[in-house]
Each structure stands twice: as structure tokens, then as C-alpha cells.
Symmetry: C2
Subunit: 339 residues, 2 copies
Amino acid sequence: MLAASASSVLGQASANIAAGRAQPSPLAPSEIVARAPKADWTEIAQSDLLVMDLTPDAKGKPRRVVIQLMPPPFSQGWIGNIRKLAAARWWDGTAINRVQDNYVVQWGDPDADDKAKAKPLPAGLVTVPESEYTVQADHTLSGMGPVVHEPDVRQISGIDRYAPATGFAWGWPLGLERRHGRFSARDLKRDPQSNVSLAWPVHCYGMVGVGRDLSPNTGTGAELYTVIGHAPRHLDRNIALVGRVIEGIEFLSSLPRGHGALGFYDLAQGDERTGIVSIRLASEMPTDKPFPAYEYLSTESQSFAAYADARANRRDDFFIRPAGGADVCNIPVPVRRVK
Amino acid sequence: MLAASASSVLGQASANIAAGRAQPSPLAPSEIVARAPKADWTEIAQSDLLVMDLTPDAKGKPRRVVIQLMPPPFSQGWIGNIRKLAAARWWDGTAINRVQDNYVVQWGDPDADDKAKAKPLPAGLVTVPESEYTVQADHTLSGMGPVVHEPDVRQISGIDRYAPATGFAWGWPLGLERRHGRFSARDLKRDPQSNVSLAWPVHCYGMVGVGRDLSPNTGTGAELYTVIGHAPRHLDRNIALVGRVIEGIEFLSSLPRGHGALGFYDLAQGDERTGIVSIRLASEMPTDKPFPAYEYLSTESQSFAAYADARANRRDDFFIRPAGGADVCNIPVPVRRVK
């Protein structure tokens, strides 16, 4: 299947060969994405876009971060809370309180730990159980197409240190567990879906999760963080992931690092916190200026298969030795503004 | 072996049990490091420290980045060049020209691509062949203690997407290849070293490498980069690694992102490049103010084994489900100033 998809997407390379060029240059992953047909892209609902406006930077430039919330069946309890917090304008006037290098940026109520000063939460937030960190495949993943989709079976069959298998579905990177025993290459080739019993989103760069206190606390969603370093996959299944930054991550990843414990800003060293002007769903923003539409490369598409294969086997001119594999966080799902 | 080392290092937890506390809290990785005995630390030679001073930040604060160069047998050709470039003060007045989010920060001559304006390189730099991206284990790794050192054999035996096995030696994360066929758990348990035929440093967060043009160009060492995102392991064995940032990486990772191709700064949008005041070996800096000494946690020590095990199996209170594994880049080698 992969060969077929690669040859269709890599049409230009084939054309070069046909034209008699001795050394056609294979397409880089970005070129495969740029040439993917419109049908291979899926538009993101405006109601799944969370728009965070920070205070302007030192030069007065606006700083806007756009987050895509996860679709069902993942993390819907927390995401319901996040929708309520945004509708209540709860985050307006809060701040980015923690920036830990090679780990996370975290935002919410700066006084959350001080009961006397903490900002009251809106009514109606739900308490979500830890069981929601994963999704039972039996009843929720059925009828939605193949769950597992990676460059080749070798890469799926268990060579990950944090999950029995990894894959992509509905545009998201997932950890996967099998119903009985281990995944085998044959299982995955024959019928990937029927063998998956549990699935969960994984902590790649840019993913957004829910801060929490010690178990059984699972957090409300009021305290959020995003990954700005090497994927901290040990957090998988220990904390709720609710989305990912799809635009403007640089306004978070390039913030000054905090020098208190865990990268919280140490106010004794001067207040380096960045203010949050507002967080809104795109669907609830003023309608006089339409918010841009975004789309992701469908992880079930032929283009994604070719892209993932090219990430795992870099054939473009720079590379002298393709790796022959890629970890799930080194295959970021392409997202762009709709043209 | 691991159990023994863990019990010795986790002495405090054992003491808690002995004292009758029902729920001793296991030590977090950082606590294991803090309690490691002095003998488990190895001091870094001042001649292996490369000190980069950037222009002060907007508030006038100094920005110093300290890089540890790799020891033999790795990358010595390029490192020899780097020593010559530092001695010639070649980098003084150059700049950081590229900051690509979730990838790299790169510095060197801003006019390197313009033959008329490019800064001449000092005499005596060597051209290093691509074969030096890896090290033949037969003659270079012998007699230096165990090459492979990870929490347990399960984690070493092949579950990495970029190398047949990974491990640590002399304080550095490595990819490893076996002499004949695959690594087996028994091989690694019995005699890890004799089965290793090739070793190479890997691209974790903070590692420093040598920018290059297309193969067979391998770069001189004048153009350097450091990783500021998820480990781009596809670069392993495609490019030379020469060291890692051990202090001040935030002065690189928090720089504004470039908006030209590949994250180079687009000068049409205003010059956001950061100037480099100087790059020197610590051993060649003015002696009126002694440069701090640094040490790393020996990767052959019992403390490192316990630390790596704790990174792979987080037992501290926050975690409800230890991963049971950790990828080589999620076990950063602890480095600190000598107290």
C-alpha cells in the first residue's frame, strides 16, 4: 500500500525518471505536503479552535496562539470544562506562570495556590475520572476507519518505549494497546483496528494538557500547559491531553525561562510573567472579522502515508543515510490555514 | 545489578520503611542525583569547555552559553578545528543567524554564503571524512569500561527507531550497532561491550553539531547548531555532533524565531540576529577570574543506573502509571557546577 501511495504522490520524481534524468531528487516531506490534493485535507471546526491572545510583545506586536481541541472520543470531559471557562471569559487577565526549558509552558490563575486570592471557577465544571486518560477501543473507535496508520508495519510493531504500539487516527498521534498480548506484524497488516483495545493521545511537542494536583485530582482544565521540548512521553496516561498548538507556538516557546522551582517565575527576581488578554473559542469571537479556517492533512490519506514514509526515510539530497524509522513525535501532523 | 544500585541510592526510602512509615515516597530522579556521592561525578577539563558570550539582552543582562566538547574517540577532527577557530577568535563578531522552532539554533558567519563577503577561515583546518560520523568499536572502545548502560536490558534490546540499540558511555548518549546481526537480551546481559561494533552520538535536546553543505561536504566546525526541540534523530550519522550545551541554553532556546526559509532570520523583516561577542575555550580565557568547574554524573556509576531507572519508572507521587521505559533522549545526563 505504501509503495502505491508513494508513487502517486511522488509523481514528479517519476516524471523526472521518465524524462531521462539520471538523479531525480526525491521529494522532501514538506514538498509531499505541499503537493497533497485538497481532498486529503480535513477542515477543523471553528468551535474546536481555542484562541489565546497574550499581551503585545516589547515592540508592541500582537501575540496570538491558536490551539486545536481534540475531537471525541478523547478528553471530552476536560474539553467541556475548557469551553465553559472560555465562554465565562475566565482566563482573561490571568497569566503565563511557568516556562521550564525543554519541558512546558503553563498558564492559568497566578494565585491558584492561595485560597484567599484564587479566582473562583465558573459553575458547572465536571470532575473527570482518571479512566478518561485512555479510550476503550471496543465501543468508541469502531466504524471510524483504520486506527493505525504508520509508514510500515515494522515501525508499528512495538518499537516504542512508552506504548506497545503507536499510530495516527483522526489527525492525532496515539499510543495503542492490544486486546490480548503483543502486537505482531501480521496482526497489524491484517486487521489493525480489531486488535486495538486501548488508545490514548501522546505528549509530542506542542501538545496541550491539563495541569493537575496529586492523584486522584485530574485537573479542571483551568490550568493548561504546552510541551516546548523533547516529548515527555512519561506523562502519557498520567495526565489529560486536550489539544495542540497549531499556530503561534513561538510566542510560548521563546518566552523567558522561569527560575523558581519547576520553572515557575520567581517573583523575587522581578515579574516576568506574560499576561493573557483573552482566551476564546473562534466560534464565539466577534463576527465582524472572520477568523481564519485551518485544515490538517488527514492521517488516513495516501499523502500522509507518503509524508510519514519520507520522514522515516529521508531521501532528499541532504541525507546520506536514511534512518529507516521515525518515532511518532517526529511525524508532526501537518496543519495549515485554508487557502 | 540495578536492584542493588537502587537500594543503595534509595537509602532514604529504605530508612522510611524501617521507621515504619506505611507509604515511603520513592525518590524522584532529581533527588537521586542530588544524593549521588562525590565519587560518582566526573569533572570536565577546562580545555573541553567552549564559552560563548552573546551580546547582552534588552535589559543589559549578560548571556553566556557553556558547551562541553565531546571526548575522544568522537568527532575529534571537527573538534580540533573548533579549537583552532576559538584560538583565532574567529567567531568574535559573528552572529546567531537561524532559530527554527522545535528544531535548531545555528550560528556562524552571517555572510558565509556570499563568497565576496564571507569571513576567511583560519589556516590549518582539516577536512574530516563522513566515516567519522561513527566510531568503530573494535579499536577505540576497548578497555574503557562497559559501553552500554541503561536501566534494564529490555530497554536496550532494539526498541529504538533510529538505532539497533542505545546506551551511554563516558557521559554521552549513543546509538549502537552490533557486530553480527541483532542485539539480544542475552548478548547485552553477558557482555555488552564485545558485541558493539559501531557507536555514534545521538541528537538529543541541547546537543551541538556541525552545519554542513551537501555530501560529501562535512562542514569545518565554523557553522554550529544546537537542538532546541524534539530530538531530530534522523540527523544521527548524517552530520557531526561535537558537544552539548551544559549551561545557558535558555539564551538560545528563547531567542525569537526566524521567519525566512528554514528559520533563518529574514532581514527584510528587520534584523533580529543576535551578536556573538566571543567564543573561547575556558582554558584560554583571562586567568584573573577563574572559570567555574563543571562535572557530570558518570554514566558508569550506580547513581546513574538508579537515576535512569527512575526516569523510566517514575515512582514519585505525581505519577499514577510509570512508563516502564524511557528513550535515550529522555535520560539527560546530569551536569552541574562543582560545588
